[in-house]
């Protein structure tokens, strides 16, 4: 459709933060209960699982926004002609990494959803601590998950920086610079929560 690009790009930016970013933090925080032991994790996971209208919540807060963000995101990756070798500026590297981590995150999410949510949905796996324990017992899968989590949290934190620009919140170079430091802290904090949870399963 003609002249919908502006709307779609703004929607893409918004969905990345609300609801996907919010969901990401919630997901990693719930995972973090694994640090306090299997029972603690199972209790938190079952609380999420038993939320009322769970299917509706999953479809409208998780599945549809992520599918839209992923489809348009792959298109955005495709139309860029990266040039960090000629212009090695910090922001140009962030631009490049945002696209690389977007693709890694997409592959990771598809894999992760397949071996957890889809398997649980088909009844071949049970939602509990041992499901993740078994997956992460394989060192290859463990490091794939570490890469996937770091890639996701980077994409979220750097995406938050561009969200602030795309929505016209940070206009001056100074505010954009401070937003860089602030989103770096977000990256470190969210990564810590996510990685610590992974280590709790091994």
């Amino acid at each position: 459709m003609e002249n919908r690009e502006f709307f779609y790009r703004r929607l893409h930016s918004l969905l990345g933060v609300v609801p996907i970013g919010i969901f990401l933090i919630q997901h990693l925080v719930v995972n973090h209960f694994a640090v306090y032991g299997p029972e603690s994790f199972n209790k938190a996971a079952h609380f999420m699982h038993d939320l009322p209208f769970r299917i509706v919540l999953e479809i409208f807060i998780i599945f549809l926004p992520i599918i839209f963000h992923a489809v348009l995101g792959v298109y955005i990756v495709f139309v860029a002609k990266n040039n960090v070798s000629r212009y090695g500026f910090f922001r140009n590297w962030m631009f490049y990494l945002q696209r690389i981590t977007g693709i890694i995150t997409l592959v990771f999410i598809v894999w992760h959803v397949w071996e957890t949510r889809v398997q649980i949905g088909m009844g071949t796996e049970e939602l509990d601590y041992s499901l993740m324990e078994n997956i992460l017992a394989n060192p290859v899968m463990f490091w794939f998950y570490v890469l996937g989590v770091v890639s996701t949290t980077f994409h979220f934190a750097n995406g938050l920086w561009s969200f602030l620009v795309s929505w016209g919140i940070t206009v001056t170079p100074r505010s954009q610079k401070i937003a860089t430091y602030a989103t770096l802290l977000v990256f470190l904090a969210v990564t810590y929560i996510g990685i610590r949870a992974l280590f709790a399963f091994v």
Partner: protein
């Protein structure tokens, strides 16, 4: 006494459709040469490093003081103006190529029409013509004039488009320069009366949404124009405009 020679490796192209090729020239060195005067030597004596007579190198230039934007080319990998690039500050041999974002007409001459088309598309002017004298326009605050003046330094040279990863053959993004001109004309008290028309042009395909915030433009702009500040300010303006358009507003003019 043997004269000091300068080595130029020029990426040449005989016609818009022919294949590019590199040609080396040894030209006489003088103190304080710029790239234009070095290229002029290849016109005076169009003989390449192998001693063959060749067609003189073609390029565009006008003002020779970095205000017209005509002589942009890629010099030692960096897009910049040939007139303000001093030979004494460059590593040798000097590699000169046309900008890759624009279609090559011949040798170093590129066709920057797409930029002028974009300026038309975003209505980068102030309509004041009418059937009678409208009198003096509203006054402009001095502080605003000062930052708007910086935006008016744009010479449509194309360096920002050359450095932008989102300006390429796969994308229809118009690039940073015409975006910033919208901010310039919207900041003008008379131009502001047509603000929404320009913002709506920016919201069309290939407009502002094509920016991916790599911020290369502001790093390479030879005039130091705060292009990324303009883009962020326009993001705010277009978002507000789109809300006004959808929900309705008496202030959307």
């Amino acid at each position: 006494m043997a004269e000091e020679k300068l080595t130029l490796i020029v990426t040449r192209q005989d016609s818009p459709d022919s294949a590019p090729y590199e040609e080396t020239f040894k030209v006489n060195y003088r103190k304080n040469m710029n790239i234009i005067s070095a290229l002029m030597e290849t016109q005076k004596n169009p003989v390449n490093a192998n001693g063959e007579s060749v067609a003189p190198v073609q390029w565009e230039s006008n003002c020779l003081e970095e205000v017209c934007g005509a002589c942009s080319m890629v010099i030692n990998g960096e897009p910049r103006q040939a007139c303000s690039t001093l030979v004494d500050k460059l590593e040798q041999p000097i590699r000169i190529a046309p900008m890759s974002t624009f279609p090559v007409v011949r040798d170093l001459v590129v066709d920057r029409s797409r930029m002028f088309d974009s300026l038309k598309k975003v209505k980068a002017w102030i309509p004041i013509d009418g059937t009678h004298d409208l009198g003096p326009g509203p006054r402009m605050p001095e502080k605003k004039r000062q930052w708007a003046y910086e935006l008016s330094k744009c010479m449509t040279c194309g360096v920002c488009l050359e450095a932008c990863p989102n300006v390429n053959s796969k994308s229809d993004f118009i690039g940073p320069a015409p975006l910033s001109q919208v901010r310039l004309f919207n900041s003008h008290p008379t131009g502001e009366m047509n603000k929404s028309e320009r913002l709506e042009a920016l919201m069309e395909d290939g407009g502002l949404a094509g920016c991916g915030n790599s911020q290369n433009c502001v790093q390479v702009c030879p005039k130091g124009i705060p292009l990324t500040t303009s883009i962020a300010a326009l993001n705010r303006d277009t978002n507000i405009q789109s809300f006004k358009n959808f929900f309705g507003s008496d202030n959307a003019h």
